[in-house]
């Protein structure tokens, strides 16, 4: 191989590039092959099934499956719950994690220990703390105990609309550390002398925060928003382990719906729902990155 390379090296850059491409596909082969077999091809098959009347030997039915899906009450409930949860949880976790990152970035004792304590929930497996969430949110749990101390009526956290708040708390507990790490990295990239210059020119704390910190965190923030949305879909795992296949209506999200369609073997509805979800996520992600690019151009 070495010898052969020696022979063709003097033939110039074009040959080099072509060799590059051949080598690239060799390096890529294991990954691309497996990726195609386990993700790409079956996904295309899934999209095709969503337009058919049956998994094998079905005929083309156009958007009939989608119409049926959109008319289904439980799908609409699941979709609106998913949307609602993301709309509430993402801004909230964004504000909280930015606040924590800003405080951590200031002059403070025990900084590394504190950071560790914020990030640790990220690595704790969901199943191992389910028992703690039950202890807190049970009818006889810690939270109701605390409330009753202040003379407030008990709340049935898991079986009323309040379940939304439970999921929100669990989501924030788990994911706030991840965003704090990202924001800390963003904050450390802002050159210190910007603040010094601003101070000399007499800009107050608020001016500095809005004029320097927020502006230079924009790219990070976009990424944090994307990841928070993605992670908000992952809260399913907690909900599932806490409340099972059919939780209270207020926390029944798209993944529950899809799991249940899978169990009842309604592959048409499931593939249609999956296709819609992919389109939705792609629209959000590409939209946000497009927005970010335009913002960056505007800044320059």
């Amino acid at each position: 191989m070495k010898k052969w390379f020696f022979l063709c090296a003097p033939l110039g850059r074009v040959r080099w590039m072509r060799r590059d491409a051949a080598a690239a596909w060799l390096f890529l082969m294991p990954s691309a092959g497996g990726f195609a077999v386990f993700y790409l091809i079956p996904f295309v098959m899934g999209v095709m099934v969503s337009f058919m009347s049956g998994v094998s030997g079905g005929r083309f039915v156009g958007f009939a499956n989608y119409q049926e899906l959109l008319a289904s009450h439980s799908f609409r409930k699941a979709a609106s719950n998913t949307f609602y949860f993301s709309m509430v949880s993402v801004p909230l976790i964004l504000a909280l994690s930015l606040g924590l990152a800003l405080l951590l970035n200031r002059n403070i004792y025990l900084r590394n220990w504190l950071r560790t304590s914020f990030v640790l929930p990220l690595v704790v497996p969901v199943a191992s703390v389910i028992i703690i969430w039950q202890m807190i949110f049970d009818w006889n749990g810690i939270l109701n105990y605390t409330l009753s101390r202040f003379g407030i009526e008990r709340v049935d956290w898991m079986k009323t609309d309040a379940a939304r708040h439970v999921v929100l708390v669990v989501y924030i507990w788990k994911n706030v550390g991840y965003n704090v790490i990202l924001f800390l990295a963003g904050l450390q990239q802002i050159p210190k002398d910007y603040y010094e210059t601003a101070q000399i020119e007499g800009a107050g704390r608020f001016r500095q925060f809005f004029g320097i910190t927020l502006v230079y965190l924009t790219t990070t923030t976009f990424f944090v928003v994307v990841m928070s949305i993605i992670n908000s879909f992952k809260v399913f795992r907690e909900t599932y382990l806490l409340a099972g296949d059919y939780p209270h209506d207020s926390i029944y999200i798209l993944q529950h719906y899809m799991n249940n369609m899978f169990v009842s073997l309604d592959i048409q509805k499931l593939t249609a729902a999956a296709t819609l979800m992919v389109c939705g996520i792609m629209a959000i992600v590409l939209g946000l990155f497009g927005l970010e690019r335009r913002y960056r151009q505007f800044m320059e």
Binding site: A21, S31, P121, A127, S128, G141
Partner: protein, 291 residues
């Protein structure tokens, strides 16, 4: 002036400390309560799950959460090892699923990441975008595709149905590419002039330079797959083949050793994290900054 600053710093630290303690609450409680006797747990937590009957009997039906056990004992751990052979089996099931995924994905992804980061070929960027997008999808989207494929390949109800999609998942490619992008082309050019092929370059130059990336990837994959619930739940119908994550969720109500079980399940993750926190954080930050 300096005193005021120190007081400010102290106040801020204690505020943050309180938030940090709140974050650690579930972990600390699990640890301390894993040292209680089963009896003590029953007395303190027996009321959980008893919904409406308790209300009529009065206000004194709340749980009694204790930070410190009355009597420190390893009884729960002892019971676990002696009376619950299923637990150890599931522990090994978890290991048996996670280790092949980590080894496989790291190897496959390192090769692909080199192609994406350092080689030019037609269709590179669109292909990478496709990889990226699948990474962002929730499991339920790839559930049907994976299921169809596992069925076709005859993998259903075997560990392969969980392991193989894990090996070829896009995350490793994405992350190692991020690390490799930072390596200057000059190294590769120099090696080429010395007559090294791509495989030599990859093995002797690239891999040693992304050591920290490999470490970070292994940790993140470990965390992710040690925690997986959906895949084994769907692809493995034999309860004796399922990993701990699924097993533990079914346990609520058995107070004799539940905290010890949780503790043993989370401790590999927690210890690994504390041991390699810098890699972990570097990994998260690097896969974030230039996402």
């Amino acid at each position: 002036m300096r005193v005021i600053q120190m007081i400010q710093k102290g106040l801020l630290t204690s505020l943050m400390g309180m938030i940090g303690l709140l974050m650690l609450f579930p972990i600390i409680i699990t640890f301390t309560n894993s040292l209680m006797t089963g009896q003590e747990l029953k007395i303190n937590y027996g009321v959980i799950g008893k919904l409406t009957e308790a209300t009529s009997s009065g206000a004194d039906t709340f749980v009694n959460v204790k930070w410190v056990p009355d009597k420190v004992t390893l009884e729960q751990y002892g019971n676990l090892l002696v009376h619950s052979p299923a637990y150890l089996l599931m522990f090994w099931n978890s290991v048996g699923l996670v280790v092949p995924i980590i080894v496989g994905q790291t190897a496959v992804a390192a090769l692909a990441a080199y192609a994406f980061a350092k080689l030019k070929f037609r269709g590179r960027d669109p292909l990478f975008l496709v990889y990226l997008l699948t990474m962002l999808m929730p499991f339920q989207v790839t559930l049907v595709p994976n299921y169809i494929m596992a069925d076709k390949l005859g993998l259903l109800h075997s560990a392969g149905a969980v392991i193989l999609p894990g090996v070829f998942a896009a995350f490793g490619v994405f992350m190692l590419r991020q690390f490799m992008l930072h390596i200057p082309y000059a190294y590769i050019e120099a090696a080429k002039i010395d007559g090294a092929g791509h495989l030599r370059i990859f093995l002797t130059i690239i891999l040693p330079m992304v050591k920290s990336g490999l470490a970070a990837l292994i940790i993140l994959l470990f965390v992710d797959y040690w925690n997986m619930v959906e895949q084994p739940l769907i692809f493995l119908d034999n309860p004796f083949k399922q990993p701990l994550s699924v097993f533990l969720a079914r346990l609520s109500g058995e107070w004799e050793m539940v905290f010890a079980e949780s503790m043993l399940y989370m401790s590999p993750m927690v210890l690994l994290f504390l041991y390699s926190e810098t890699y972990f954080i570097e990994g998260v930050q690097l896969s974030g900054i230039k996402g």
